[in-house]
Symmetry: C2
Subunit: 173 residues, 2 copies
Amino acid sequence: MAEMDSTPSSSTVSRTVLLVLRVLTFVFLLISLIIIAVNKGTEDTTVGPLQIKFNDIHAYRYMLSTIVIGFVYNLLQMALSIFTVVSGNRVLSGDVGYLFDFFGDKIISYFLISGSAAGFGVSYDVQSFLKSQELPFNSFFGKAYASASLLLIGFLFTAIASVFTSFTLPKRA
Amino acid sequence: MAEMDSTPSSSTVSRTVLLVLRVLTFVFLLISLIIIAVNKGTEDTTVGPLQIKFNDIHAYRYMLSTIVIGFVYNLLQMALSIFTVVSGNRVLSGDVGYLFDFFGDKIISYFLISGSAAGFGVSYDVQSFLKSQELPFNSFFGKAYASASLLLIGFLFTAIASVFTSFTLPKRA
């Protein structure tokens, strides 16, 4: 095993870890996006079946927006990483690249946690109100919880990436 | 190695800015806490007045918890700052101090945005459902929005503090 504490190899390890974290975020956001976007529920009532869709609940629309924002950001970051490996040059070199990673990871992680929190926050209370009217929509809210949970895991990966990119910042830029 | 090799004046400016940001966060969280904790609403119905309190909605309980967590953290940080000024020594010196500030600001800012997002997310949709039953509770939800907005401003100050503490991190700790 070669020594790992020379500067280029430690930078390569750090970039590899970042890429893995971004691929994981991407996968979790993709599944979260599919689950929430196709989410529909139906309950039979005395006046016929009543349907609910994700865009009937505003907080789920916001959740979907944050997933799309995180998805596009991670797609861009992965494209930049692949370009870097293929061409051997970073597209955003020096301080610009570090600052893009730092602020990108930071802002996107705030978006992701806010989307997940809005989704979790609305689900419990809205379902309670609907339950009181004999409209539990259990499958619909179950899928909404699943989507918010996957989004939360995606957030955790991005938050870890954000810790990495904070430590690679040039000091006092 | 207390202060690395940076110029003392830039470090003092940075610590003063941080203290101001923490005092501002503290003030906004305090007002947000008071507004949500005393929030009650009453609507007259055919069967008599119906009352709603903040702890009837689970997302508001979570919001209150995040406010308390942020409040205690900022109180602790302000106490540490005052002790530093009075005694001339940082309580948490060197890397421990930097890491406490870095992870503290990062984690607390995630809590604050999640509380605010849960509060905003639940308010719109729950009020829509209640409105459809002629129970708008306008004053109650108005105050909940006000509390979530102040919490969001508190988050913004903590997020800015988090950017500061990221740049003062020792590189590759």
